[in-house]
């Protein structure tokens, strides 16, 4: 298994990493039994995600996909962030080994979870906007 240079760059120098205090929404996906947890914080002004940060427990790909996902949604309208797919995250990283595709799915889910939390805090039902957060198909764990 070999990671692309971009994956290694985002793993070694993660962007937007760390806890955010004055967040507008926060979402956490994954679980420790499977070996990865992603937590995504967003700050929203108007309809725009003005700031984003993440904390991740997981492998190199989990950290790199978290980092890339934050870059891809920072400064973007919420509607655009919600369209970000795991495939787009993978492409931006010049690909992932097949066994690590699941990490990119987590990154997509983490954004949706953070946006859902933001809407809930606003008193808005996130379900019609964000939709169901898809189960990770790659993860066959029984948790």
């Amino acid at each position: 298994m070999a990671y692309s240079e971009k994956v290694m760059d985002h793993f070694a120098n993660p962007r937007n990493v760390g806890e955010m205090k004055d967040f507008s929404g926060v979402g956490e996906v994954g679980n420790p039994k499977c070996g990865d947890i992603m937590r995504m914080y967003i700050k929203v002004e108007g309809d725009t995600i003005t700031d984003v940060s993440f904390m991740t427990f997981g492998c190199g790909a989990a950290i790199a996909t978290s980092s890339m996902a934050t870059e891809l949604i920072k400064g973007k309208p919420i509607s655009e962030a919600l369209k970000l797919t795991n495939k787009a995250v993978m492409e931006a990283l010049d690909g992932l080994p097949a066994v690590k595709v699941h990490c990119s799915v987590l990154a997509e889910q983490a954004i949706k979870a953070a946006v859902s939390d933001y809407y809930r805090r606003q008193g808005i039902d996130p379900a019609p906007i964000v939709g169901e957060i898809p189960e990770c198909e790659e993860c066959g764990c029984s948790v």
């Binding site: 993660p14 039994k33 427990f57 492998c59 989990a62 764990c141």
Partner: protein, 402 residues
């Protein structure tokens, strides 16, 4: 990244071929390239060293030369010993039960799994928190139907050394064959197959500075076993195929050196290991995996709460340190190492595992460098870990496993 030095701390995975071994092998690629089965001089020039290698290997194990069979690797030795002896026991005595342990190498576990598909039943003895099987539990598991017991001498991941002599004695008393995978033990513990009641023993060259692609199996004279490979009369007709003379000579050179220097090796590696264990134990919420006392001199296996093993390895690699982990993410499977789960660790803790294994080319400076670098790497990963955050806030607690 600032890279000060290179530290190879994965000697349980493989080792470099030593100069001595390389020099011993080269003549058999250049001048003495004959087939040992040929009668003319060039053939006999290869035959004599081959038989000397067999005698040397036997002497290292307390065996007779005609009890040593050269193979292509440790996995082959395990496959042959277990399948060959189990099938022979079924044919001769109708016995179809095998006993092994839960934390064997996959070369043993998957071989036992293959035999289950042939109708054998397999008992997997539990491994306790200290990384050891209990002789009394072996004793209880043996039945009139038991064909074979296979339990590893020393574990490849957590380095624990089993009470082999006692396990062997129980098997001998009950009339059951005893095989042990000694791939990690050779050169680290004194092996005597007669005194330790071992009927079959697997070993591998590349863990002791011989090349990859050569191993050996000791089969006590008189143990019924099926042939591994049918064909010519090589290896007493039990494993056909022209002998890999150069590598066999390399293996014998390596095992001779490794065995002659066991005491020096143990004396040199043990303080290095213990210093590293002491140092890593100071890291908050860390644990040593497996017994500290019954442990290979070069093995350090730890779990660190709140970090994941693969990212730990990648950061160590960026600092020039080669190590290994039992985390799921390095194996490509979803579950972390079966060895760590077998000693009772939950997935959440087993994901944060690290194995550092040392050998003849490591120095105390390597240990100091690891101790200089590793705590900072753990801290860096924990600082971005939501699991560590949850542990610190007391939302989850794994301290019972520490």
């Amino acid at each position: 990244m600032d890279q000060k030095r290179k530290v190879y701390a994965d000697n349980a995975a493989t080792t470099a071929v030593s100069e001595e071994v390389l020099e011993a092998m080269l003549p058999f690629y250049r001048e003495a390239y004959g087939n040992p089965s040929s009668l003319y001089e060039l053939g006999q020039e290869a035959k004599a060293p081959l038989e000397r290698a067999r005698a040397d290997t036997a002497a290292c194990l307390g065996a007779k030369p005609n009890e040593i069979y050269f193979t292509s690797c440790g996995s082959e030795s395990d496959n042959w010993a277990i399948k060959g002896a189990a099938r022979a026991q079924r044919r001769k005595h109708g016995k179809t039960h095998i006993i092994t342990s839960a934390f064997e190498h996959h070369a043993v576990l998957h071989t036992c799994g293959a035999l289950e598909k042939e109708g054998f039943t397999v008992t997997y003895l539990p491994v306790h928190e200290d990384g050891l099987v209990r002789p009394e539990e072996l004793s209880q598991a043996i039945t009139d139907n038991t064909a074979l017991v296979t339990i590893m001498y020393a574990n490849n991941e957590i380095g624990t050394i089993q009470p082999v002599e006692e396990l062997g004695r129980i098997c001998r008393e009950r009339g059951v064959l005893f095989h042990t995978d000694a791939v990690q033990a050779v050169g680290n513990v004194h092996i005597d197959v007669k005194a330790q009641n071992i009927d079959m023993l697997s070993l591998s060259g590349h863990k002791i500075h011989a090349p990859k692609g050569v191993g050996a199996l000791y089969i006590r004279a008189g143990v019924p076993i099926e042939n591994f490979m049918d064909g010519g009369a090589q290896e007493r007709g039990r494993r056909a195929g022209t002998e890999n003379v150069a590598q066999i000579v390399g293996l014998a050179t390596a095992i001779k050196r490794a065995t002659e220097t066991i005491d020096e090796r143990v004396a040199r590696l043990t303080p290095m290991r213990d210093k590293l264990i002491e140092g890593l134990s100071k890291i908050e919420r860390s644990r040593l995996n497996g017994s500290r006392e019954h442990r290979l001199p070069g093995n350090v296996s730890f779990c660190f709460q709140g970090v994941e093993g693969e990212s730990l390895l990648l950061l160590l690699d960026m600092h020039g340190i080669s190590a290994s982990s039992g985390s799921a993410c390095t194996s490509g499977s979803l579950d972390p190492s079966h060895v760590l789960l077998s000693i009772g660790l939950p997935h959440e803790v087993a994901h944060g595992s690290l194995r550092l294994s040392f050998g003849d080319y490591n120095t105390m400076e390597d240990i100091d460098y690891i101790l200089e670098v590793l705590p900072g790497i753990i801290e860096r990963l924990r600082n971005m870990s939501p699991l560590w955050d949850a542990i610190r806030q007391g939302k989850v607690n794994y301290d019972e496993y520490m």
